[in-house]
């Protein structure tokens, strides 16, 4: 199981999510602790890259960008966005 490590800026971004997005985001956190590599690579030309993203919520308006440190079994949350 991977340990989630959010960047300090992510906390504010999460706090700004609407409620329906927040519920979907919470589900993403559960998934990222188990299978973070199932996310899309942030750079399409590097499918094995450690920086990945996961879209969530209605209309896939939410996006989490994260980094996987496989040797440490950590997932670092770098950015959470919501298209308003």
């Amino acid at each position: 199981m991977y340990r989630i490590v959010p960047d300090a800026t992510v906390s504010d971004q999460v706090a700004a999510l609407p409620d329906d997005a927040l519920a979907a985001y919470a589900e993403v956190l559960d998934v990222l602790q188990l299978t973070p590599w199932h996310g899309e690579p942030q750079r399409a030309d590097n499918p094995d890259a450690e920086v990945r993203r996961w879209h969530f919520g209605p209309g896939l308006a939410g996006q989490v960008v994260y980094l996987i440190l496989e040797d440490r079994q950590e997932v670092h949350l770098l950015l959470v966005q919501w298209l308003t």
Binding site: P6, T9, S11, L22, Q63, L78, L83, T84
Partner: protein
Amino acid sequence: MAQAGHVQGVDDEIFVGMLGTMAERQLFRTSTVSSGYGRAVTIPAPHRSGGEPTPPAADPVAIRACLSPRLVAEFDAEWERTLEQAKASKDLVGVHKLLNKWRHVAYGEMRDPGSYFRVLAKAEQIMQTGENPTAGSFEDMQALIRERLGR
């Protein structure tokens, strides 16, 4: 055929659009740009409602208009590669995923220019040092979510 990173013919003009009441007057900035896809288009620049930018549509021309030249080059390269894959597979899922990704990138750049590369630089820093010096608390984040969702 589009050329990656090729942006030309930018011809900005500014005019004041008169809409409705005096209170609804808005300043518009439009750009006539090479779309990169064989035609020139005039598009309204992303507008702000109450100071907040509005995400671009899931459209390559609208997205490109929100990006810096460096990011336009990156978008074009991905766009070309994704279209080639779609032509071969007859599957547009990859195109939709790309547009959704880049809508987020564009929106992030509109709200906080340079944020895309700052996130990548932060990732590089964490990979090199093994830690994030500005890490927050996951437990606090979970507590916030529980409180908001009433769990």
